[in-house]
Amino acid sequence: MAQPTATDRLLALLPPTAQNRAASFVEAGALVTEVESPRVMLGLLPSAARGFLLQRGKQGVPTLMPARHLAHFDWSYTGAQAEMRDLYRRAKQQQWDAEVALDWSVDVDPLNPERPILPYEFFAFERFRAYGTPLPRGSKEELRLRADLATWMLSQFLHGEQGALLASAQVTECVQWLDGKFYGATQVMDEARHVEVFHRYLTTKLCKLYDVNDNLFVIIDALMVDGRWDMKFLGMQIMIEGLALGAFGLLYRLTEEPLLRDLLRYVIQDEARHVHYGVIALREHYRTALSPEELRERQDWAFEVALLMRNRFMAHEIYEEHYAHLMSRKEWNKNVAESPGMSEFRHTMFERLIPNLRAIGLLDERMRRHYEDAGLLRYAGGRDASQLSGEAMLAELDARGHGDLASAAS
């Protein structure tokens, strides 16, 4: 178990509910120390205040985010981009109707041990014995927890997809290439469909929907209010979509639930195109249009957000629901971080993400050292989104085998 610090001891004096809330504030404050670049930290601070302190995503009411960006009109319709035009053509051909493509009549029982949404090995259940909750494999409580964890992940996918829907619409306004706007329109449609399918799956099959995770809220908030289109692009198309693609790929490989597997198969094909578009658009822009100073800011931002995503997606909503009375938030974080499923999740995420950062020019010598220190440079040799189609990615996932967690690496 983690060694208690002075803060932990102070927190322990509070009643349990207040303890949990205070711990989340402490974690928010820790952001200041975790983010090395002061500029990135200052940029994230307002979003962090809205997400961590004010909990705007968790009030049970809609959130209004002021979006400040410039819509780009071009009355001469110039700016042909062959690679984007090709993506647009493929996107049109690969549209699908979730109503027809998926068999919604499948009866999903999240507690069915023979078709679990997540495998038993995903979560480090053995560790919880130490806290007096043995959770034997296949017991109702164990199945419930596993189902809730899957529901939590899918809820975050849904919230992320809503962010992508709105951000892709904004980006479609902002970009200067006509072919980019064409392509962007198909992406808006794709994201709407993803919101549709995840929402439908959660509300009609799992019958439960978790709030947006504070950390996800902070990143979405930061992107929505940032007026610079390339930051929206970097955040949404490269970082969040990259994260999502890793998570979708993992879940696609692990789940035994046929409807979800089908659903993810379709979504992955769309997402691969989205990341590809992000790579094309930013590669050009970052090579030609930014000052060294501006490029440096993007590099730092991407690095810090990658670490935040690695260190902070710890299913705290599940903790509050099931474990807040049994262990401290810190212990929970450690247990989740070291569970095989989360290790594998980080592995697949960085495997997708880092090569894309390389492709858009955010992985120069200076950054390589940072990534090296964070233990992430080993992913830098992989294929980026312009070299890896959705079909190829699915074939690779299928070849890795189904339901197997053994390749956990990170």
Partner: protein, 405 residues
């Protein structure tokens, strides 16, 4: 601007309204007006109020999304062990029997099916007798019927079915068998009759049982071989099949009064108990003909297979109403049934099939008015006595219920 209007105008969350109003009331008028003009200030106020609220009364980090009827307890997920095709358009689903559940022959199960993303509930009679190792429901596909098409075409062994029941009173007490058990039906109506015949002959191998079965063509007849085998093993069972195809095309042969007289002649009228289940015209004919022969009342039991239709949404009130029962009150949301509302308020009411088919949830309406899904199992006399089925009743006004004694 009054505090209430100010907070209503700018603070969308009802929870933050509770927290804000006392603060706003204490502010001088000028400060209140200044606040109302500044979206930034009202936004900040809302955030503060929500934060206070989250410390004092935390809300869970998730919401549960109810499915129609899903909020009611008692649903089981049962595995389909085998799917057997009985006739070209009918299958038997062999379903695991949950431990400790004992049904009466003739009862039915209610399935909640997920079809094209929508949830539908359908009831089907058990064709198995209570002493058989697993439950068996036999489903005949109805043209255009989504539930029966789903069950006959798509369900495979290994699937699970969300199941309620067993329910219904089309049943036989095995300890009080009648002198002559007469089972009359046709089509899929044979399903519960087959279960009743098996149960009667298990209770008393020598019981006098007559099955009068009408069917269109020989191939459609459910359980034909199994019934013949049962008849070979039991001298007391007589099976009469009336096939439409044995008549002419112009005047197909159907069960008629002569068949009935013939069947009733196997015993005295007063010792006969008759169970009727089948197509509506057949049931009407049989019930009338029996009545003319002085056989009626408790001697005759009927079971109708029908599709229940909920009342049109525009008939229902659009705002919540109140349900009063047993000295307690529960709010009923628009579209909610009385049973769902009571259950949500933890007022325990009896129920079983949730389809208006079994009568387990019947109560008397003391005050108010409801719209019931139709058709259901209440007869005219019961309706005159203001009895309602809570599982299919949606209130039109505030409603008071009491148990029916």
């Amino acid at each position: 601007m009054s505090p209430a209007r100010l907070s209503k105008h700018f603070v969308t969350h009802p929870a933050s309204r509770d927290v804000l109003s006392p603060v706003l009331e204490r502010l001088p008028g000028a400060a209140r007006r200044a606040l109302a003009r500044s979206p930034w200030a009202t936004g900040a106020l809302r955030d503060v109020a929500a934060m206070v609220r989250s410390w004092t009364t935390p809300r869970p980090p998730f919401q549960l999304i109810g499915r129609d009827g899903a909020a009611l307890p008692g649903e089981r997920r049962l595995k389909v062990l085998e799917v057997r095709r009985e006739t070209p358009d009918a299958v038997s689903l062999f379903v695991e029997r949950p431990a400790g559940v004992r049904e009466l022959a003739g009862q039915f199960l209610t399935f909640t099916l997920s079809i094209d993303g929508a949830e539908v509930r359908r009831s089907y009679s058990l064709s198995s007798a209570p002493d058989e190792p697993c439950w068996r429901v036999t489903v005949k596909r109805v043209a255009g019927g989504s539930g029966s098409t789903h069950l006959t075409e798509r369900v495979r062994a290994g699937d699970t079915l969300r199941t309620r029941g067993p329910s219904g009173d089309f049943t036989l007490d095995p300890d009080a068998l009648p002198g002559h058990l007469l089972l009359i039906g046709g089509g899929s109506g044979v399903t519960p009759l087959f279960a009743l015949a098996k149960a009667a002959l298990t209770a008393d191998a020598g019981a006098r049982v007559t099955m009068l079965i009408g069917d269109r063509r020989g191939v459609d007849c459910l359980f034909a071989e199994e019934i013949d085998e049962l008849a070979r093993a039991h001298d007391g069972l007589r099976v009469v099949r009336v096939l439409e195809s044995s008549g002419s095309v112009e005047s197909p042969r159907r069960i008629d009064e002569a068949d009935l007289d013939d069947a009733l002649a196997r015993g005295t009228l007063h010792e006969a108990r008759v169970y009727v289940c089948g197509p509506e015209p057949l049931m009407d004919l049989v019930v009338h003909a029996l009545g003319r022969r002085g056989v009626g009342g408790a001697q005759v039991k009927t079971e109708r297979f029908v599709t229940v239709r909920a009342p049109a949404a525009d008939r229902l009130p659009s705002t919540p109403v109140t349900l009063r029962v047993g000295g307690r009150e529960a709010p009923v949301a628009p579209g909610q049934t009385l049973l769902e509302a009571a259950t949500a308020a933890e007022i325990p009411l009896e129920f079983s099939c949730t389809m208006g088919g079994c009568g387990a949830c019947v109560m008397r309406l003391v005050d108010g008015d409801v719209a019931m899904a139709e058709p259901n199992c209440l007869d005219d006399d019961e309706r005159r006595r203001r009895l309602v089925l809570t599982c299919v009743s949606r209130p039109l006004t505030d409603v008071t219920l009491e148990p029916d004694d």
